[in-house]
Amino acid sequence: METCSDQITRLLSEGPVRSPAPAQASLDAHSRSFPHSSCLRGGFRARSSGLANGVGGAARERAEAQTGELADLLSERVELTATTPDEESARAMLASEEADVAVVVPVNAIELIRANRQAEITIQHDQVDPFERSFVEIFAAASVDEINRIVLRRMVEAGQESTDALPPLSGDLELVEEELDVLRGIAPEVLVSPFVAVTSNFQGVDVEFSHYYVPGVVVVLLQHLALTFAALSLVRDRALGTVELFRVSPLTGGETLIGKYLAYTTLGMVVCGALVVAAVFGFGFEVAGSWLWFGVIVLLVLLAALGAGFVVSAVARTESEAVQYAMIMLLVAIFFSGFFISLERLIPPIRAVSYLIPATYGIMGLQDVAFRGQAPRIESVGGEAALAAVLLVAALGLIRTRVMAAGTNGNGMRRRVFSQVGVGGRESLDQSGRSK
């Protein structure tokens, strides 16, 4: 006769479990009630890991079978990328961002249950966003609940089948008694929920809700501040007429720009200092990583934002126009930089826009430094630096041609140029300046 624990073992080691219609309906209903359910399915990649260390032969095969079956259950909600034999490999995939969550399945589930303990299915992730973390927790709890329901149902079905085929009681009453003792020894809650979900950040990062937004607030505020200052700077110079003085002076367009960069970067760093002091002493914000990296990222954000501001400044004709551009950039940064909404939740075309925003790289980098305690990933520093460089070149080009160039009116409208300066296609002039 098959015991209850054997039934669990069999249920977990037999081929893929096909969820009956009522259970599937329940899952779908749950998914629909969760606002991010569709993103969960499309956005998360999972790596399942059976703890096979020290398990060999039939036990190893059983563990792999369990892992496969659980992975199959979870695949209703996630995209399974790989199955690994050990936890370290799964962590490595998390670290390299090949997977979003790693599901660690215990190989000794039966022993644990026999010992009156629930078997923990650990779901590890790399989320620092409290919203995303909660989402993983809900996902984990719902998935394990579903597994428990399926296991329980299978147990009951198997029990009923074995009762039907029960032979007349003979001299094995002692064996039956032993099995009943085992059953009596397992607490009802363990029998009903043999598996329990445990979620954790694989690096042990646990960010408070109020702290999580500090990097975003710092970056978005600094971007807006720098962009607005820069955008208004040259527009005001033009409106005031000071740019005319620049053009008569020995100053070049590049020098003008560098001077403004220096001034506004210094101002931005001072403002950043004030914001960080307020966050540290007002909210207890802590930076787990290097303050030097923190400063480098802020510096890059400021340079990129100033570049964007100078581009706006060269294009805008009035102060109000420049302010409007700056406000648009602020809104874009709030919604598409990962400040409120995780970048993974954005559709690819919108995500492409995100990577044109200085704040995107800044938030990414500061989260790495402040929460994960590690150097910013290369794409955040490199992306920000590249964006800053591109915007600097664009701003320089625009200022040289639209603002500082001789022969322009400073508002970006190039007038007909003196023929002798060699503009192609113009008629040549004789020495007196008259057309030939």
Binding site: E244, V248, P250, A406, G407, S432, G433
Partner: protein, 326 residues
């Protein structure tokens, strides 16, 4: 208008057929101009006549549509750093920062033209003292009066001791006493070899210039010395002959012929204004004629018409010759 530089002289500005027009049709048209180095060249004309456009062409802020222009031997649009350092430019409106103090604005302009830190403060004190703003140096630009802003702008133009100063209405809004002080300073700098190109709406200030160009409707009507302009305006010297009693039309006609006057005008019951070739020759001739005719002459005075009148006369005489200017 001038034909070319005097032999052996250095030209600070040379313009031929200089033209720059704007969408509205205003601008400057076919300006021929030579400005000798080490002189004060005045540019007078009514509002909208093209004075500021000309100055901006000379600085390279604007490029000409047509014509040829060299300033200090180079085309302004191609000025290099060294050439720009030689320029001092005073725009017509205040272009300095309203949120900085007068002293800070002056320092900003000093740095703009690359003045070294060493000696900068002393030079700043010199020029701010020249424009009599030492006591107001801490005042914000936005709180300074229009005249003070103008004075500071002038100080900012002089701060780096440029060789060629382009001043667009430097004395606008400044009291007559300080105006005169400025012109004395300009003359002093001129004597040290500096060149000035100054526009002004105070036509009387033309008297302080070595040469004056008269501009109207974007056309340069004439370039001459201040005295030459007077003679151009009235066709010669103007003398007022004051008689003891009115004379008849026949006697007046005879006096005009005797004095070889080009024009005559009764400006009082017994006062006749004559326009003659040379005022110095008129007094003895007219006195002799009056003695023969038994007419008592109380005085023969050379009349120096104010430059306002000179300007009005010149424009009314010369501008129509350009036909439909607008």
């Amino acid at each position: 208008m001038t034909d070319g530089p005097a032999a052996g002289s250095t030209l600070a500005v040379r313009a031929r057929n200089l033209t720059r027009t704007f969408a509205s049709g205003v601008g400057v048209h076919d300006v021929d101009l030579d400005v000798q180095a080490g002189t004060i060249f005045g540019f007078i004309g009514p509002s909208g006549s093209g004075k500021t456009t000309t100055v901006r062409l000379l600085t390279g802020v604007l490029a000409p549509d047509e014509g040829e222009l060299t300033v200090l031997g180079s085309r302004p649009v191609d000025f290099d750093r060294a050439e720009r350092t030689q320029l001092g430019y005073l725009p017509q409106a205040s272009v300095l920062y309203p949120d900085l103090s007068l002293w800070e604005n002056l320092g900003f302009c000093a740095s703009l033209f690359g003045m070294p830190w060493r000696g900068r403060r002393r030079r700043m004190e010199e020029v701010i003292d020249l424009v009599e703003l030492t006591d107001a140096r801490s005042r914000l630009m936005r709180h300074a009066s229009t005249g003070m802003q103008r004075r500071l702008s002038l100080a900012a133009t002089l701060i780096h001791d440029p060789d060629f100063l382009l001043l667009d209405e430097p004395t606008a809004g400044i009291d007559p006493v300080l105006r005169r002080k400025f012109w004395d300073h300009f003359a002093n700098l001129r004597d040290q070899g500096r060149t000035f190109f100054i526009t002004t709406q105070y036509v009387g200030e033309a008297a302080f210039c070595d040469l004056v160009g008269v501009l109207a409707h974007g056309r340069l009507l004439t370039v001459d010395t201040p005295e030459g302009l007077r003679r151009q305006a009235f066709g010669g010297d103007v003398v007022d002959v004051s008689l003891a009693s009115p004379i008849s039309a026949v006697d007046l006609e005879e006096m005009v012929q005797t004095a070889a006057a080009a024009r005559s005008q009764r400006i009082g019951p017994a006062t006749i204004r004559l326009t003659v070739e040379n005022a110095g020759d008129v007094a003895p001739v007219v006195s002799s004629w009056a003695l023969d005719k038994g007419i008592d002459i109380e005085a023969v005075d050379q009349f120096m018409p104010p430059f306002d009148d000179v300007f009005v006369e010149l424009v009314s005489r010369l501008a129509p010759s350009y036909g439909n200017l607008q």
